[in-house]
Symmetry: C2
Subunit: 395 residues, 2 copies
Amino acid sequence: MWSLFLLFLLSLLSYLFTDELIPKLDHLFINAGMFGIDLCKANKNKIPEAVGVISGCVFLITCFMFIPIVFGYDLMDREHFPHNEFAELLAALLSICCMLLLGFADDVLDLRWRYKLLLPTIASLPLLVVYYVNFNSTTFVIPIPLRHWLGTSIDIGFLYYIYMGMLAVFCTNAINILAGINGLEVGQSVVIALSIVIFNIIEISGDQHKAHTFSLHILIPYLATTLALLKHNWYPSKVFVGDTFCYVSGMTFAVVGILSHFSKTVLLFFLPQIINFVYSVPQLFHFIPCPRHRLPKYSAETDLLYPSRTIIVKKDMLFISKLTIKFASLFRLVDITEDSESIMMNNMTLINLFLIKCGPMSEVRLTISLLIFQACCSCIAFLIRYPMASYFYDK
Amino acid sequence: MWSLFLLFLLSLLSYLFTDELIPKLDHLFINAGMFGIDLCKANKNKIPEAVGVISGCVFLITCFMFIPIVFGYDLMDREHFPHNEFAELLAALLSICCMLLLGFADDVLDLRWRYKLLLPTIASLPLLVVYYVNFNSTTFVIPIPLRHWLGTSIDIGFLYYIYMGMLAVFCTNAINILAGINGLEVGQSVVIALSIVIFNIIEISGDQHKAHTFSLHILIPYLATTLALLKHNWYPSKVFVGDTFCYVSGMTFAVVGILSHFSKTVLLFFLPQIINFVYSVPQLFHFIPCPRHRLPKYSAETDLLYPSRTIIVKKDMLFISKLTIKFASLFRLVDITEDSESIMMNNMTLINLFLIKCGPMSEVRLTISLLIFQACCSCIAFLIRYPMASYFYDK
């Protein structure tokens, strides 16, 4: 327990350090040409981009410095040192470090989409190997209603590793596509991290004590550095976080989910990201034209955000496009205006959906609304995980 | 043994892959504004900078993919899996990955000198922890002639960890300052890596079998990717390698030296770098004025390189500057021209020293000369390590 206390103290220092470092280094990013213009503001200031690399590095360094503390007690007795747990922590940090590197390279070099899918797969390799060595449990427990047909559990073998690799790819990209307004990427990551931390604290006295402690060891420094980043990224943003941050966050959640064996619970906390992903599918797979940016449209006159739109030329429409539009309008998920030649439809992101349902609003209100939605989804996730799970699984 | 064969095959593939990837990605670097002009050429083409990040990433990926092969046999028998060796490999890769990240960040953001010293120290933390856990042998064996006074060995305890941290700092920066002409950074790294590989092969049947196999597991993929980089970096360079490459190389050598317990032998292979460092000290510590670039001066007329010079104003001279100049000219280590107010002296680098001693020469000849010197120093290192060491140490 004292190690968690020390971790808390160390994380507090890393919060202060990150908070200090970001404004000190931001001119380096601008000098290096790594800056963007905030499209949702009237002013055209240069805002440093990819600053997530700073919080990511401090996060890693904090974890490094924490190694001797976590294993301090074990170090006294080198004969029985838990090499397997140590290897687990190293593999976790290696995957996160890799993702930080690849994310930063992506921000600097602007890699193609196919690399974005490839990179997290590569970065999760050390993780999968350590999973194979330390656990190699590839069984899914079957929910009670289905056991009649499938048995109590099913061993999916190699497919489980594919699942874990895909989890890393999903987590990293899911955060990346629910983004575009000040503070949203970082804010949602904070809510998810907090949800997992609460889950860990609930479970820490149970039989999976070690797994949940491991998760806390990674998530507490993550939260500390991310909160410092949020302070500078909150509306009006003084820094942008870049793909770097989304990659590191996604990988961190995937890592704790995989190595602490609660990947399905982690996915529950990703509910808004899953909704956003499913809603985005028609544009991501180009059934519906997808512009480079899908973020809401800013009006300097009203200082409000409005849903952004895409134009579909009627004669270019595929069957699947028609089907998508019909289906989406049936459930009132899109806002459509039509003329003889083309259809104007909102870009299919959760952010635009909020603007359609609740009307135009200011950027900061939109961010807060989305974060409240994320928090509500976490509550639903806890409901599913606890009261409802007992109907499906025996405790 | 079959695992070394497979490693060789995999490394061959990674050579081909790196060789293919570098020209494909180089426009990304130029688009991102990461390019330089070759100061030793008449043309002013934009040459991509920090391309070492590509070979570094492929090197890491090769090592990841190699993990299941190295531990393949052990994976059958999970009960007796060598978790400590696995942790060692992970820590090594983590340190290298960190260095790759920090090196690339340095290239992009152009960090200050103090960070350059700090970063390798941070990146070597996981390494030191794994060393503490797995070995914690902090004894130096005393050479025979000194044993009368000091005993057979001396345990320097905590200082040994300082020594290892400093080794990482030294290795990374030593390569970085012996640089500036096409192919030199990469060429010297290849010579050093080859020397260590030869040393490993000589020793592999001895009692340190495991340590030397470990070193080969890291150095063979390193060599493969570095050779591919050398192909594109050789005169006339189509890419520059950046600090990224120097950092990764230095860290790789430090890692194998530390974890395979032959750090003193690694230092022997750094003889030219040590000479260059000692020779550079007066300028690095600013006893003698140090311009931003110390690389040789190119003359487009003759297509030859000449020693570059620094100007020392006589009335600004400190006592230690006078002492340095007197000492250096006594041993004919500098080329000095003097007038009533100032002294013109060559910049104190090994590259300029070569040009003073051998006269102006073409860039490619200068690189080859320096690499031959590096190879000769490796031969001397082997002489010191083998025939001479028996006078100082009992085998």
